[in-house]
Amino acid sequence: MLADFGFGILLLTFIAALYAAGAALYGALKDVPAAVESARRAMLLTFPLISVASAILVYLLATGRFEVEYVYSVTSRSMPMYLKLTAWWGGQAGSLLFWAWLLSLFTSAVTLRKWDRDREFLPWVVVVGSVTLAFFLGLNIFVENPFARLWSTVEGIGPHTFRPAGGQLFIPQDGRGLNPLLRHPGMVFHPPLLYLGFVSFTIPYAFAIAALVTGRTDDRWVRITRRWTLVAWLFLSLGLVVGARWAYDVLGWGGYWGWDPVEISAFMPWLTGTAFLHSVMIEEKRNMLKQWNMLLIIMTYDLVIFGTFLTRSGVLSSVHAFAQSAIGPAFFIFIGLTFMLSVGLLMYRWHDLKAKEQMTSLLSREALFLFNNLLFLSIFIVSFWGTIFPLISELVTGQKITVGPPFYERATAPLFSAMLFLMAIAPLSAWGRSTVKTLGRIIWKPALLSLLVPLFIFFGGIRQWAALLGFWLVALVTFVTLHEFWRAARARQKRWGESLPVALWRLAGRNRRRYGGYIVHLGMALMAIGILGIEVFQTETQRTLSVGESVTLEDYTVTFRDLAVFDTNDGRRVYRAVMDVYKDGQYVDELHPRVDYYYDSQQPMTIPGLRSTLVDDLYILLVDWEQVSLQNSTFKVYHNPLVKWLWIGTLVFMLGLFISLLPDREPAPVRVTARSAAQPIRR
């Protein structure tokens, strides 16, 4: 009954979204403000409606109503309550509903803003938002219904939205439970963060389309959506990093990023979104690249949908799985239609969007931002091609192939290096015009200082050229950015007589976008230290040990003390080893690598024993063990230098983004008397 009610509400939401799209379209084309207002209200109505539907699903999950197929497939009695609740986005149907709920929240929020100056955008923003919402709700209603129940018929037991003829409701005793890999705090936060990022990019896209349709060629849409874009980028970035952390903690391969197609599907909109984030600044400052920005946001929106399509359609397993799934073709058609319509609109307005300004210098900030865009797009091309080539190969030759990490690493390493170099010099160049001389004057001191870093590590015994180059670039970005803070703070000190900490604090308050951006760059440089550490210096060994035996890797000696086996009350059998860790002969820690075997899903999960410091991580996996005596076990030990800086860099990166998101503090008012105002300005 409750499931039927949930489905009914979902249907109503779908109708409201369709009505909003139709009314907004009619209102805009026939110039009927009442219709547009009605569409806006219908859009607002979708949020409480879909919230009720979502609340019903969460209630069904929490109370273990296993007759609902979705509840049966993602929960079990033994699962803790927080996992039952977050199972909302743990499976296909629920995650699509979650996507739609977030989209409804964001589009409703955006329709509540003051539209006085941009009234003509409103109907088109509603059209884009409600069409996207209707698409996802349609998938939930026609293909992946989260409220479908299990019915027993002569054909067997299966999910049906409505009672089939002669069907009896089937209520399983227990559910199958969530995939063990997803039972981790990282997985609780990773999908919502990614989805928040994905969905937020719909808003700038909706405004871009509104600007194209209405023919407003100024940068108003960019200014309105600046914060939306930053929020989208923040969530998408966080989603990627939390996913990386989850992989590091759960997947048991000693790394954080495997160039897996699912990872790449979230990385691609991040790449085009980051290019967009930089490129819109050129439009705001120099009134240029309007067509390019439109193209970037169209690509980002469709890549968001494409990412969801890749992970949800089964296409990554096989092109044939895609053809057999009902969801795959629907996504494919939606992506194709939205991309063609958007690009068609862009072509229609192409001439109107031509820049009035010209680029005067190859070293100007806009030129360097353009090179930055080229690098982001190049990494995107490699990622996109690497992801779809196996599908093309299967389609054309019938042969399945793998495009794995070596392909991506070889292709993207020089591009990432060039990006770090640009990150160092672009903030120093001026809008409009910069020369080698002006740039050289600002950069020579930090550049000289940065050369000391590779020299220092070279004499420290490191000879890998990749490490020397990488650490030099990191040092260059760091020193140039810190030097910029120093220069600006010194200027304030001289001008206002402030102390250095006060000058730095106020500096960040005056131009938050700029200095927040610098802090983001510092965070990226710290993250690069972690990436370099693990990519260049990671070592590993695997050994079978008897109790009391040791294995040595780098400065560490690890001794196998014992292995215990026990059951937990949440349905796991745990195999937990105790390892004593010595560094340079001194006892430093005790680690517990373990394997959790989940009875309900009959799947094991490998949890590493991890000792993490600023210098390195020691990462131990329990690979195998002697079943009866438990006296001999096989361990894989990784030494991951500097990887902690990846997570520290993320925190700095977040801090910078938060600062960028804050509005700039207004300058303090200056009291002006009639006499002083009458004085001519003297130079």
Partner: protein, 163 residues
């Protein structure tokens, strides 16, 4: 003298037999470490566990594959021979990159070609922009002030006075 010759021959035979024995011992199955197995396994992917390298995959099928690698190494096979063995049996998808042959060349050619195209477009756009900017500057420099514009005439006069 004869004794010495016999002694030398016997000694030589004994040495040959000893060396033969030891070399025969060297040709037998050698002990292969887990690290040697993993060095090859990390370059392979089993068809079932998509995108999970063989060295870290915990399924039974992958465990058996690792044992096959161990056996081949013990038999003296080289890394390339072992990889080729898996390709012959399970197809090209078992290796981390598409083999550089036939249709697969597209995997390697298309990204650099597109990136080069992008660089070309970017250079062309920048050149066009710079030319346009230079022409604009030249036009501005050549443009005579409109004599009929009273405001500009007075401004020029004022500027002349200030000089």
């Amino acid at each position: 003298m004869k004794r010495l010759v016999y002694g030398l021959i016997l000694g030589l035979l004994a040495a040959l037999m000893w060396s033969g024995l030891t070399s025969a011992q060297g040709d037998g199955p050698r002990t292969v470490t887990d690290d040697e197995v993993n060095a090859i396994a990390r370059q392979l992917y089993c068809p079932v566990c998509e995108n999970t390298p063989l060295d870290v995959c915990s399924t039974e099928a992958c465990r058996q594959w690792r044992e096959v690698i161990r056996e081949k190494l013990e038999q003296g096979w080289t890394e390339e021979e072992i990889k080729q063995y898996f390709i012959d049996y399970y197809g090209a998808r078992v290796v981390a990159e598409p083999p550089r042959e036939g249709f697969n060349w597209l995997a390697y050619i298309v990204p650099p070609a597109l990136i080069l195209l992008g660089v070309g477009i970017l250079i062309r756009v920048v050149i066009v922009w710079k030319q346009a900017a230079a022409e604009e500057q030249q036009l501005a420099a050549e443009a005579e002030p409109d004599e009929e514009d009273e405001y500009i005439r007075r401004l020029e006069e004022e500027l002349q006075k200030r000089r």
